[in-house]
């Protein structure tokens, strides 16, 4: 696909993507588009290909076939420009153990070339909203999983990325923090950003996602708004029922 043919409004675009682990096909002919201002929930059973898809979007894995673009930049050939537009929060948050939370956030701010004023202001705002000021000056090696998740989320939001790619965002968070994170995602999309969220927590996907995609055995079996999925499943059930129905139906095939 040439640059001229790409929609201006696209935040993430995967076109006919295929990824194999040896003889095992992890993702097969995946075509998916995510627009700016959209919150997309990516669902699927364990081993369905969610994390592989995410790793291709952020440039850690290279597709065997097809192409991945972020804000119009080809991830394979124009990786630096693509990466400057996105932030990635993996399912296992990474922090330098021997840095404090504040030192880590300063490091990230400097990587993204934020000014001192921007850095101070944004860290203060995120610290307050995610409520981690109490332990910001402790070494991160002493943090619980939830604490780490909050600091990593703050680091991801620090440079106000156009695309936020996040794998299992709510694991380890308390209910209040879950609410805050949901609000932050919604605010990000209202500001023109896009959120690509992989999750097993179906009620969160149901509550906040503009569109939902279901991947099973490497293939995208359904994509659309909740209403569209309901009509595709020909049932007026919860997302859980639709998800189970669609993945079982694919198994039967």
């Amino acid at each position: 696909m040439t640059d001229e043919m790409i929609d201006d409004n696209l935040a993430v675009s995967l076109q006919g993507v295929r990824k194999c682990y040896g003889s095992k096909v992890a993702v097969e002919n995946l075509t998916l588009e995510l627009k700016r201002g959209e919150l997309f929930a990516f669902l699927g059973p364990n081993g369905a290909g969610k994390t592989t898809t995410i790793k291709m979007i952020v440039g850690l894995l290279q597709p065997n076939k097809g192409e991945v673009r972020v804000c119009g930049h080809h991830v394979g050939t124009n990786g630096l420009e693509a990466k400057s537009q996105l932030a990635y929060v993996p399912d296992q948050p990474f922090l330098y153990e021997k840095l404090t939370g504040r030192e880590f956030l300063y490091f990230v701010a400097e990587m993204y070339n934020l000014t001192k004023e921007q850095r101070t202001e944004r860290i203060a705002t995120l610290m307050e909203r995610l409520d981690f000021s109490e332990y910001i000056d402790h070494l991160t090696e002493n943090y619980s999983h939830g604490m780490k998740q909050k600091v990593v989320l703050a680091a991801a939001l620090l440079h106000e990325p156009t695309v936020l790619v996040i794998d299992e965002p709510m694991v380890g968070l308390d209910p209040r923090s879950i609410r805050t994170v949901k609000n932050l995602f919604v605010e990000r999309t209202r500001a023109g950003g896009a959120v690509f969220m992989s999750t097993h927590t179906l009620d969160i996907a149901e509550a906040v996602a503009d569109r939902i995609g279901i991947i099973h055995r490497g293939k995208l079996v359904a994509v659309g708004t909740l209403e569209q999925l309901k009509s595709q499943a020909q049932k007026d059930h919860s997302l859980e029922e639709i998800f189970l129905g669609m993945t079982e139906a694919t198994d039967a095939c």
């Binding site: 409004n9 682990y21 490091f107």
Partner: protein
């Protein structure tokens, strides 16, 4: 179409290095605050090793100085050997560290999703592995340097120190760059079993070098002069003009002889090659880093399929003598051991070298027919086996309990006494150590044709040392655990691990002192004669001591483990 404004490309290696330095500073601060005794003991031990090395080198050089002709021949050869060995060892250690840092850690993945170029990430990892793999060489090189300064007159000593240090620093990037390339190659070519392949390569390289070394030293009927000439001729390849060890060795040799212009020329050659090689390899690896990372991640994603053999296979019947619950735990530990190349390869390399040495003993230039040597040689072999066992139990057996502590929710709920878990760990460690140590000792006894009494004594001592060392490592592992730590190497290097090492060395020293005294007393006895009762008593005491220490350590550890809260 709309494409967002291009990102301003700027090198961020300075920022990354600053973060690493900050981490190091925080680590040192924490150690000084929380474990000042451990820090002090570590510094003192390093100082002790440093001074011991200095005096050893000083003695060697003082002896060489007394015989100038031998020094002229031997010094360049010693340096060439030393730097050739360093080149090989540092290349492999850099490869292992760089592979882990680039392809095995979350950090690389994190950095590569931020606006850093692969060149930034690879440069950081290159510097990291260079520092981590080479600091010991610099540390050990300092006493060598200070001792060698004694060979030159005082007016030139300062220049000599500077030159020596410059040669060391110029040399280490060469194996560093080769190691970085090897790590990249391993990820590209063997993504599924990179660590295993690198471990096997290291093992094979060491075995081949030792075998070759042994062959070079072997006896022949030639006169000493002819043998020496042949030996020199075999070693000529070490002086090949393109080998970095030759540049450094020649440079230092020239410096000792006050030929500074030649020394500086060799220093220039070393620096130029080190810089060019580093630049070329870092650029190359960075250019093709994405592909290698993809291969490594895909390799991990594919995984390696292990199909258990019927009845548990070899791992099952090895522990047939244990009750079922203990057998299950010991079998699990053995599987983990066999699937971790880092563990089995170190044991295989250490004992492989020992077997190689034993099999070559009859061909070495050592006179074994004297009555004293006939007993002393197997005793020295016994010392070597015991020290290797102590190293192995401290590094791999001691951390077992700390690592199991993380799964205490599972092991602790098994329908058996918690202390019995320790017996399973002990049985696992004992089976492994006994199997390799007994084989080595039996081979030594056959090669040296020892009589029945001493054969039985040596086998009993090795078995008791296995018992004692495994007991100490399992017992202290339970008494001084580090449940919060996941890294086995860090557990072994912690306070508990250091205590364990000291206890193990003390036990080995005590047992071997007893056996050594008995050997000394019997050295001039007719070979087939049974020693006196007091000599036999010394051996019995040594064996009993080791067993008692093992049992006591296990009981102390068992009591503590029964009440452990994780």
């Amino acid at each position: 179409m709309r494409v967002d404004a291009p990102f301003e490309r700027r090198p961020l290696i300075g920022l990354l290095l600053r973060v690493k330095m900050r981490s190091l500073y925080n680590r040192a601060n924490k150690a000084a605050d929380e474990a000042p005794i451990r820090l002090t003991v570590s510094v003192l031990l390093v100082g002790l090793i440093w001074f011991a090395l200095y005096f050893m080198f000083d003695l060697v050089f003082a002896n060489l100085e007394r015989t100038p002709l031998e020094a002229t021949v031997a010094l360049p050869l010693i340096f060439n050997f030393f730097f050739m060995a360093m080149l090989a060892m540092l290349t492999f250690s850099n490869a292992i560290i760089a592979y882990g840092a680039m392809f095995g850690k979350n950090e690389s993945s994190y950095l590569l999703t931020s606006p850093l170029t692969p060149l930034d990430v690879v440069t950081l990892k290159y510097i990291e592995s260079l520092v981590m793999a080479s600091w010991a060489l610099v540390l050990l090189g300092l006493p060598l340097m200070v001792a060698m300064a004694g060979l030159v007159d005082q007016s030139n000593q300062l220049l000599f120190y500077g030159l020596f240090l410059a040669f060391f620093l110029a040399f280490i990037p060469i194996p560093g760059a080769l190691g970085l390339f090897l790590a990249w190659l391993a990820a590209r070519v063997f993504p599924r079993r990179a660590t295993r392949v690198v471990s096997v390569l290291i093992g094979v390289a060491i075995m081949v070098s030792v075998f070759w070394g042994m062959r070079s030293l072997q006896t022949s009927d030639d006169a000493m002069e002819i043998w020496l000439r042949n030996f020199q001729s075999r070693m000529r390849f070490l002086r090949a003009a393109f080998l970095p060890n030759n540049w450094v060795a020649s440079g230092i040799d020239h410096a000792i002889r006050y030929r500074f212009s030649e020394a500086f020329m060799y220093l220039g050659v070393t620096i130029a090659n080190a810089l060019f090689l580093s630049w070329a390899v870092v650029r190359f690896v960075a250019r093709y880093f994405d592909g290698a990372l993809d291969r490594a991640m895909v390799g991990r994603g594919e995984g390696v399929r292990y199909v258990p053999a019927a009845g548990g296979g070899m791992t099952g019947w090895l522990f047939i003598y244990l009750p079922k619950p203990l057998r299950i735990i010991a079998t699990k530990d053995l599987r983990v051991f066999m699937r971790d190349p880092l563990q089995w390869s170190q044991l295989a390399i250490l004992f492989g070298l020992l077997f190689l040495y034993l099999s070559n003993m009859p061909t070495l230039r050592i006179q074994l027919s004297g009555a004293g040597w006939r007993l002393m040689m197997p005793f020295l072999n016994l010392c070597a086996v015991s020290l290797i066992l102590a190293t192995f139990t401290c590094r791999f057996v001691f951390p077992l309990i700390s690592l199991e502590g993380r799964k205490l929710w599972l092991v602790g709920l098994l329908p058996m006494k918690r202390s019995r878990v320790l017996w399973a760990k002990f049985a696992f460690a004992m089976t492994i150590t006994l199997a390799v140590a007994m084989s080595a000792m039996i081979m030594s006894l056959i090669v040296l044709k020892l009589n029945l009494f001493w054969s039985i004594t040596h086998l009993a001592v090795v078995a008791s040392i296995c018992f004692g060392l495994c007991g100490i490592s399992v017992g202290l592992g339970a008494r001084l655990p580090m449940y919060e730590e996941l890294n086995a190497a860090r557990i072994a290097n912690g306070l508990g691990g250091t205590t364990n090492l000291l206890m193990s060395v003390v036990l080995v020293a005590m047992v071997l002192t007893g056996v050594g005294l008995a050997t000394w007393r019997s050295r001039f006895l007719p070979f087939m004669e049974t020693p006196e009762v007091s000599t036999i008593a010394m051996c019995v005491f040594s064996v009993s001591l080791s067993i008692i220490v093992g049992v006591v350590a296990l009981r102390i550890g068992g009591k503590h483990f029964a009440k452990a809260e994780v």
